[in-house]
Each structure stands twice: as C-alpha cells, then as structure tokens.
Subunit: 403 residues, 2 copies
C-alpha cells in the first residue's frame, strides 16, 4: 500500500520476500495451550511492517499433544474477519484426501466481487473527481437514512429500552488508553448447547452468545469491583457482505446493551434478544450501502471525539463483540484436521477488550484480545463464559421442570 | 519513565509484572544457530512498550547442541552498551561453584557512580533553573572545545587525510530510510589472531577490527555493485565512562574513514591506524565532558538535517562500528558457561547497518544488526569479516617472509 496525494493505493510488490511473511516458530516446554496463548499474545503485539505486504503467517510447532498451530496476522486494510475466514475456508478442503494436494494459503487468490460502485481511484485518475462520483452514488441513500435517524430521535425521546445510541455506554476499565502489549485468550464452547438454549427461549444463537458475554463480563467486572450501575453497551459488527466476495471490508455496526445491571441471567438474555430484534428490524429497512452510511452517522460523535478529545470520559461502546459464521463442516489441509479457529482481533484506545467468536458446526471458537495492562487476567473470562452458559441452561431446566 | 512539562523522569514502577519482562521461548527444529538468529531478528523488531519498564529478557531453549540462549532487550534510555555489559558481568561469576547461588540478572542492582554534575531535575525542582546550572557547569569547557574546533578547520583547509568530518561520508545503501524489520547476524573471531595482526603492524586490536570491517564492507558493497569511489566513513563511539559505573549513557564519538577505496588490505589497515591515532591524540587533549560537548558540535550539522531534512542525500557517517570491552575471563551463571556475548544494537533512518563488537579474552563476538530491506543478505558479512582477517594475516606473512 502506498500513499500519494493524501490517498492510499494498492501496488504490486516488486521484491516479494517469503521469509519475511512465513515464519516457523516453536513453543517452549511443556507445550500446553497456555504456552501457545502466551506466544500468540506476543506476536500479536506490534505493527506489521508497512515496507512489506501487510500479512504474516506463523507455523507453530511443539504442542505437547502433537498438533500444530497456525497464526495468521493480516492488516484490516486487506480484509475484514469474514473475508479472512472465507479465504481460509477456500484454502482448505472438506475432504481429507483432496486436502493433500492443496497449495499453501498464500497461493490461493482472493475472490473479489465485482466492484459495487466504481473502480477505486488510481494514481492516474483525478482523486477529486473520483470522490465526487462516489458522493453522487450515495445521494440515493439520503431519504431512507434520514428516515432512520429521525426514528432514532423518536426512540430517544420515548426512552425505548431497545434503542441503544452511541455515547450511552457507561465508563469502564475497557474504555481507557491502551498499552502496546496484548493478551490473547481463546476457548471453544459447544454449538449444540448454545442452540438448545436459543431454542428454549425463542432467541437466536447470536443472542445466547451475547448473553454469555454479558454474564461473563458482569462477573469479571464484579470481581474487580468495577461493574457500572448502567448496563454495558456492546458494539456488534454486522456484515453487509454479498455472497462470493472475500475481499476488503464490508461491515456495518449495531449497538446492543448487555443488561449487565440485571442479576437474573434469563432476564439478561430476554433484554438482549429484544434489543437485537429491534436492531434487525431497522437494518432490514436499509440496503447494505444505506446501513453503512447510517452507521457512519451513528459513529460520527465518537469519531469527532477521537479527533478532538473534547469529552474524555465518553465511551462509544464498552466492548466490541463480533460474531462471525465459520465453516459448517470439518476442514482439512495436507491431511491435518482443523480443530479450532480462534480470532485475534484488534484493540484500540478506549476499546481495550475485543471479543470475537467464530461459529463452526460443533463449536463456537472464542478469541479474546485485550490490552495486557488495562484488562488484567483476561483469561478468567474463558471460564466465566462457560459458567454463563451453564447458568442459562439451569434457567431452562428451572422453567421447564418446576419442582 | 514518565514525561512531565516536556522533561522526562524516572519513576518507580508500582505494579511490576515479571511475566511481561521475562519471556520463555523455544527454537523450531532443527535448532541451529540459523534458527536462533532468525528468532532474535524477529524479537528485536518493534518497540518496547512504554507502559512498562523498558527491558525484556528472553530465555531461548531448543538449540540442537543442548545449549540455551538469553536475549536481553534494554532501551538505550536505561543504559549504553558498556553499562549493559558491566551489569551482565556482575550478574555472573568467574567461578563455576559460586555461580550456582547467583540471583537472576534483573535482581542485581545497577552500580551508579556519584552524579558528576548535579542531580537530574526532579518534577519538583524547577526545570529551568536546573538547566541553567547545567549550562554553567559546561562554561569551563568552552576554551578547549573552541581550540579543538579551530584545529578541525585547519585540518579541513590542509586536507589532512587523518581528519574525518561529519558529512564527508559518501552516500551508500546504508544511508536510506529504514523499514521496521530487522536482520541480526552474529559470529565470533579469534582474539589472539587479531592481536597477532595488530602487533605485526604496530596497530591496536581495535584498528585491526576496523580494518576487518572495512574489508568486509568493501567486498559486500562490491558484490552489489554499490561501492562508492570515496572511502566509507564509520562513526566510532568512544566511551568516556569512569570506572565502577554501570548506569546511563556516557558515550562520545569519533569518525574514522575505512579506506574502502584501497584494494590493498595492508594499506587499509595503515590508513585506519593513522586516522585512529589522530583521533586519540585529539581526544586525549579533552576531558570526558569536553569531548561530549565537542562531539555534540560535530554531530550538529547532522542533527539539524535530521530535523529540517534540508539535505536529503547527506550522510553523517555510513555505518556505526562500536567496539566494547567484554569479560577477560570465562563467566558462569547457575553452572552454565557463557559461550558468546553478541550485541544487537539499533538501526535508524540513514543508518541501516550497525556493527557492534565485544572483545572477550578468547574471542571477539560480533553482532550485525540491519534493516532487512535496505541491507540484503547481511549474514554474508560474517564470512567476509573472517576473510578480511585471513587477508591481513596473509599480508604479514608476505611481509615477514619474503620469498
């Protein structure tokens, strides 16, 4: 990626240096998951070198149980999480034998959808005229977006509990300046168990996942004496990606309050379910482009604040919770079965914790990434997520089989 | 280290997190020196996190021959190379048995010499009045420094070949903007062989080491078709540290031309010897403080240029060659013998290669650190250094035993 005249462009790299991008490392003894997470925490720190194409792949050997791990670091400027998973899925096979003939992942070309608007401005085309066309493309979005924003204002006046707006989030330890050091924690949770809870309450699996996060975050903050009285707000990325594309970023946002002020896990799940239903109904009224424009409006106060730092104690949201669909069948590469797919996302000032989840057929793989200093002992959340699922299961049994 | 009112201060860290500073890692198979150097190249990239005390220590296991390696990363704001080596030497023992009772290196306190001038300004003392006192302390240096600088001007007019001034260096591939990725290469060279060459020519071991670097750099640049017609200039740090102190930075500079335009290795050594003798004579006329002030004057044009970027193709020097005295006897820690002590220094814009050498009783340990992109295949220099020593040895035999 090069910068010219204030705009950024993609360039073909002339001297490709594979040894910089493909790295072979090993875990120290005893080679437990603990050592693996410590290594990923370390290699996840620091920026990718802008002098090279913005990706690296680590092959990690030395796990005590004979498995190996692969850590892939890709700049968000190249692709979002869904694009990354799609590319990974296309670089693996659902068939063990076929997988033996697969090339390394970096030799699999990305599948680009047709450009939706117009080609990105090239160094030769005038940047200004390109921007003007781009603006013209978005004029059609104005009416529905204004309608949506007007409805938001009505919701604020009526104090609709399902409407969450930017800046409603209470200040927490997650909303502070972050250090440069990261802590990564990861674990898998049973998909069938999550689906069973969802079914029992007429909610979605995503609602249950959010309720698990709510329960875990509530307990984690209680431990530290840091639970705010008002409920935490999660920013929940929503993909507006079309089928077939695994390139670039196509992500909108909704906000969800996590009802962390409520003691009862069932009540938390119901509040989350109701808030997400509201969000979905509003998103369905907008096209992907309109929802992008709309979320830009919603994020505007936060973005302005990030630049001006006028309100130092405002939090756009407390935590980003990103739930991404993963492979629905077992995958293989060169005869090795994929056992887990743990996302390590990014942490920014005032967003010291990110929870990303990938749903596979058998497990939901969770990756927690946090600033090591702002979010101490982040690995505790792994147990608390499991405990939150157990609590929700207990409420079903309490409801279904009253004594 | 915290910043307040534009000045930086040391602070006691309140929540010390050893797991951040002490890191346990392992080499992938086959665990050769090659894998070790690749790992050190990687962990040397990137900044230390300013939210923590500025050091980290890596214990590296998995070397095929059963040895282990320790990589220590310390910010230059904490200590210079000599201070680091002194601290390391005090954390080890010359006695195998005694070494079994030694604490880990981070528990050995630094040995601070008495403050030479006055205590560093504290957040409570007025910064300005402290600066004023510091300036007053340096007034005594004015006369000898002016005398020295006047002599420098005379040398320029008379074209004294032994006088090297800042900016005389030709532009080379080492003098470009650097990437964020580093390459580390390291090897040991026989101290007795180097001393034998020095003795044969009435030069110092340091002159021979510089001549080895000159020969290696000449051949490396010739390979790439990048050898400039004018000789390369090395910036050679000179310690002005007093006995007993192993704290902070106490380093002055001289410049040495490396006579890389000469084909004859003997002629290169004689030119280097003559230039370094000239430098030494001048340094001896100055006190440590005066030499610091003097080197500040010599570096001024380069520093101004770094800020203003007026002259984009000027190079203050082509390469930094730092030669540091190391332990004179074998050292042990917890029963393990120290086999090599390889310095990994720093690389900056327009200084893409740094050569640092530590002289021990039996070997001179060389560490090359380079920008991976600007200085390709830097490990070639390891062989060329050995070849340069062989060439110098051959010239002795040619001189001493004429056929």
């Amino acid at each position: 990626m090069v910068s010219k005249g204030g705009l950024h462009y993609w360039m073909q790299s002339e001297d490709f240096d594979l040894a910089h991008h493909f790295v072979h490392v090993a875990l120290p003894k005893p080679g437990r998951i603990r050592e693996l997470l410590a290594m990923v925490s370390r290699v996840h720190c620091g920026h990718l070198d802008r002098a090279y194409p913005l990706w690296q792949m680590y092959l990690i050997e030395g796990l005590a149980d004979g498995r190996f791990a692969v850590y892939i670091k890709v700049h968000h400027a190249l692709m979002d999480g869904i694009a990354g998973i799609r590319l990974l899925m296309r670089s693996m096979s659902t068939n063990l034998d076929t997988s033996l003939t697969l090339p390394p992942p970096w030799e699999v070309p990305t599948q680009r959808s047709k450009p939706r608007h117009l080609p990105l401005p090239s160094p030769t085309s005038g940047g200004l005229s390109a921007l003007r066309s781009l603006a013209r493309e978005h004029v059609g979005s104005v009416v529905p977006v204004v309608r949506e924003l007007r409805s938001n204002v009505r919701d604020i006046i009526r104090r609709n509990p399902d409407f969450v707006f930017a800046g409603q989030a209470p200040r927490t330890i997650f909303n502070q300046k972050v250090s440069a050091t990261r802590r990564f924690a990861a674990q898998s949770y049973s998909t069938p168990r999550i689906k069973a809870v969802a079914e029992a309450y007429g909610a979605t699996a995503n609602d249950v996942v959010l309720a698990m996060c709510a329960g875990a975050l509530r307990r984690y903050l209680l431990d530290l004496g840091e639970l705010p009285k008002r409920p935490l707000v999660a920013a929940v990325p929503v993909s507006v990606r079309r089928e077939g594309s695994d390139h670039a970023n196509e992500v909108s946002f909704t906000f969800c309050h996590l009802a962390t002020h409520l003691y009862n896990p069932e009540a938390r799940l119901r509040a989350i379910n109701s808030c997400m239903d509201y969000n979905k109904a509003h998103l369905q009224r907008l096209s992907p482009d309109q929802s992008l424009v709309c979320s830009a409006f919603k994020l505007l106060p936060g973005a302005l604040n990030a630049v001006t730092r006028l309100v130092d104690n405002s939090a756009l949201a407390n935590v980003i919770i990103s739930h991404v669909p993963g492979p629905r069948r077992p995958l293989y590469w060169q005869g090795a079965k994929l056992c887990g797919l743990y996302p390590a996302s990014l942490v920014v000032d005032s967003g010291a914790l990110n929870i990303t989840l990938i749903s596979r057929h058998d497990f939901v793989d969770v990756g927690l990434i946090a600033c090591r200093k702002a979010v101490p002992q982040v690995q505790r959340l792994l147990q608390y997520l499991e405990d939150a699922l157990l609590e929700l299961e207990a409420t079903i049994h309490a409801t279904v089989i009253p004594n």
